[in-house]
Symmetry: C2
Subunit: 670 residues, 2 copies
Amino acid sequence: MFGNMSMLLAEDGSQLWLRARSDAHAQVIANQKSPSIDIAIKELQTQWKGAPVQLNIVRTKAVIVLGEDGYIISGENTKDIIIEASSEQGLLYGAYHLLRLQETNTLPVTFNITEYPSYAIRILNHWDSFGYTGTSGMMGLGSFWEPEKLPGTIPAFYTQYARANASIGINATVLNIIPGSPDLLTSVWIEKVKAIADVFRPYHIKVYLAPNFATPKLLGELKTADPLNKEVQKWWKNKVDEIYKYIPDFGGFLMKANSEGSSGPLDYGRTHLDGANMMADALAPHKGVLMWRAFVYDPNEVDRAKQAYLEFKPNDGKFRSNVIIQVKNGPIDFQPREPISPLFGAMKKTPVMIEYEIMQEYLGSTNHIAYLGTTFEECLDTDTYSQGSGSTVAKTTDGTMFGNKLTAISGVANHVANAANWCGHVFAQANWYVFGRLGWNNKLSAESVAEEWVRQTFTNEEAFVYPITDLMMRSREAEVDFMMPLGLHHLFACGHHYGPEPWCDEHEPGWRPDWKPSYYHQADKEGIGYDRTVTGSNAVEQYFPPLRESYGNLATCDERFLLWFHHVPWTYQMRSGRTLWDELCYHYDHGVQEVRDFQKTWDRMEKYVDPERFVHVQSKLRIQANDAVWWRDACVLYFQTFSEMPIPYNLERPNVELIELMTRTIDPFK
Amino acid sequence: MFGNMSMLLAEDGSQLWLRARSDAHAQVIANQKSPSIDIAIKELQTQWKGAPVQLNIVRTKAVIVLGEDGYIISGENTKDIIIEASSEQGLLYGAYHLLRLQETNTLPVTFNITEYPSYAIRILNHWDSFGYTGTSGMMGLGSFWEPEKLPGTIPAFYTQYARANASIGINATVLNIIPGSPDLLTSVWIEKVKAIADVFRPYHIKVYLAPNFATPKLLGELKTADPLNKEVQKWWKNKVDEIYKYIPDFGGFLMKANSEGSSGPLDYGRTHLDGANMMADALAPHKGVLMWRAFVYDPNEVDRAKQAYLEFKPNDGKFRSNVIIQVKNGPIDFQPREPISPLFGAMKKTPVMIEYEIMQEYLGSTNHIAYLGTTFEECLDTDTYSQGSGSTVAKTTDGTMFGNKLTAISGVANHVANAANWCGHVFAQANWYVFGRLGWNNKLSAESVAEEWVRQTFTNEEAFVYPITDLMMRSREAEVDFMMPLGLHHLFACGHHYGPEPWCDEHEPGWRPDWKPSYYHQADKEGIGYDRTVTGSNAVEQYFPPLRESYGNLATCDERFLLWFHHVPWTYQMRSGRTLWDELCYHYDHGVQEVRDFQKTWDRMEKYVDPERFVHVQSKLRIQANDAVWWRDACVLYFQTFSEMPIPYNLERPNVELIELMTRTIDPFK
């Protein structure tokens, strides 16, 4: 820690982007009273520094068309300000909007703001062991929710969690990993869920659960979980009724069935359609929603990238109206970059929701800066050509194109239970933030949201805001470059998703081919990449024209996806004029140089940041820089054994032998 | 290994710079016959590709003035060539000269070459456990000489070793570590020495030994080793007589006495002078030489850099005429860069010889490219001002200035017993080579010798010769930069001389202060460096004016030695305009960038080098690049805890935490 920073107080990041403080005790009045409105009043009273604010529940047409979550802000900052909404949550969102403008130095003189969300449901998916007793469950970690204390004691962070979500428009959360423990649906656990729901309710966060499809069987209450079995149908109906008795505004279920070994309707000779509709029927009387994940794949001959489409597309329109199909942004699994899933735009009658990953499972975990606003934006903005040009993923999912009323967007979040800053890395908070903001308004740019976040989380000093926003905007591309450029994917170590192991052959006996990097990179003496054109798996066929043709043609394929769709000769001439091999090396090296540049940028910011967060980020960037070199050297040296071509001579050389990297072990969770 | 190299045969480096081959069977005749002349004939017959060669022993004045080692080459390459000398070794050296011209593509049409050596004795010092039984001795390693086989079996490499030395003019070798085991002087070992001397004789390599000063006492033959004791004097006289019976041309002794715990005359209340003259008297009747090392220091209050001068200077002229004082090039101990020892030029009556280190004890051991020609040249060319301007170290040591006839130059070499390429790193051979070449002619430039070596060791292809010569010329400065720039010294790990440990405080209980890095760097909140001016240890006083004044004055001091002589504030403005702290960071980073550049240069050379040596050097450079980053980060991060200043923002940042480096352990000998 150096420089003149003694006036900057240490911060541990626990306040997230909600760091506003005011001694002014703002004048705030409301025309109605409710727990939610009380929260809105309190937030403004303690943070707002401007003119008096009125919070009004109104039933004007202008407000009603905005839906329950919408609001209008009018008035003048020098006189008075009026927030109007048809519901208490609209006022709450309006209050946070006002504070956001204040904290980002973007307050207008005259307010003329009309807001409503792009998606009805903006939901977090927690890959958490809630529902399991002890430390079983995902990665053997205990639950973030500290369920052992429930329902007797409510952890204090619940309120902070709900507040943070509400401040960015998130209005739902799935508490547990999918598929959950069968215990999750027993009364002991339902009481815990109720305790959580009660805390979240004033912040308008609905609680969802991800039950195990075989719960009635696993609990020993029935001999089967066959969705066409009357007893099973009745069991679920009763169970849902029971849940709603505890939690009248319970959100519904998120289901992962018949995927990666989880139970599901296929176990009983039934279809995803059968399973989903059975559960939807149980939820429907309570207006409960069923989110059915399309993340399904089996170790068969079919290209994994094709399986979700093959499974769901034929049943478009056959699902109940309270079913929404949850589709990961790309066809594989949250890789640093993927093309869009072909299911976007393909399902025209049954609604489809995007599943993003907020946590950086494949992007350096809690160690790297990888702002995912650009990933989210890239997906939203991609044209599916479903109904001709302009059929972006945004429009096919938010109701604009197919008129769906049931719209949702989800983000997988794995909060770090023992990190004061929630996410393990201060900059990982930005991914939570941007998910919420784009879920609210899918037309916002990733860059504007990054800037918003930087201003609130750190400072409005322009000498800080612009370089750091720029850094964030480049950060995910840097990860792509040093990990998996040009459409490469899933080169991760078989034992974890942190480091590179493009050579990994068999992690343990019986390790499935589609869990090995070689399944994806297909490197050989001639070239590299997965042929998904007509001469290969023909996954391109699942896209609408002209995407199908442009991806399927080596000459026209977006080079960012080149090796996703094509097996390309090492000597193939890229648009830059370089060979594929050289281009690959350039990307890998560029990723490293970018991270080094981020380090320089960050270190220059010392005087604008409190010492605690400055050192925290500096230290994380050192790890990231080290990891970037590790990735580059591992991949370049390994692929060089196939290409047998020299690394372009103006690029930095590896300073390690491939064999050392191949025998290095790392526990990323240590 | 990539590219079109299949025509380049693998080489293991064992041939050193002697790779010439000829199918021509050259015509060579000699006017006399001797084992040495036979060698010269055979070398030319098997390698020379030009005109017939005559080897003539002559007694012309022109040849006699060149001394026993000198020679004249005349004639024309298209007709015939004549090598003339007054002795067989002159012819041998002339033959190697001719071959060198051929192999470096520098043969003239008409020969007009007159050569004689700068120093009478050009000697290697082997820090070897010869004389010890088993694997005791230095670093617990067995002896390079494989003495257990002697005298019955002569290892084949002895001849190759002698030939390599003769080819570059080295004419003496000290077989063992100093101080040696007392067993060394027993008849069992003398017989082994004789076996070695017999092999070396035709190559005109004289054998020396480094006995333990206390040998008569340690062997139990006398109760004391007091040099003024008559019995002791007699013992040494008899012992020397015995040795010369076995080896009539035995060279003499190299003594390390009262240094680093070794025995010596001070143990008996006597002086170095007493000890040296006693042993010199024993050697004199046989024309034996006594080399007495000035590497003496004790853990007292006196600056270690001053001790040799204080000990020896007062006795100038009092030593016997067959004594020569062996002085390391710098005052401390073969650091990456040192100023010259103040003893050069100070001893005007008693001859002084330079002790260089050929092996890279402090420069990356067998892992780094660090061409020491520049180190040797820098020392030779430094003006001592002993007799006014122009009194270079070369002139004060080679007889030019003080008229000494006993002249010598030594190089510490530690050949790697189990490395086919002799030195562990192909480029380390160049340090052996340049030592020999500068010992022969101290006016040669380090650059011309590097080029000679490159041409012989690899190829005459200009696209290889010039970049690699350039790389070598920059290599030692790169080491200085990433290890110890601006006059820093001895920042090595206390347990070894490989990695950085500027923080090392106490390696083991009782560790001497002068074995700790902090003794040398003296870093504190104000600045860094050892004050050796009048306000400090006043070591500058030992230099002649104007060196004394220029080193002693912060404003005039050569910045390469700044922190050797001064404790300098972190914010001191350097000639570049930067602060000292920034300048330090720049040097450290520049060293790293240089090594990375060496990697690029080397990788471009693939098509000119056989695959075995290409990969060998490529692999070593990867280690060097890694070590360079390690050094830079360790030193910069550690010194930053004192300076509390930021690393200049345009420089690459560390990608590791200081604490990790401080807890890292490494066994450089593994």
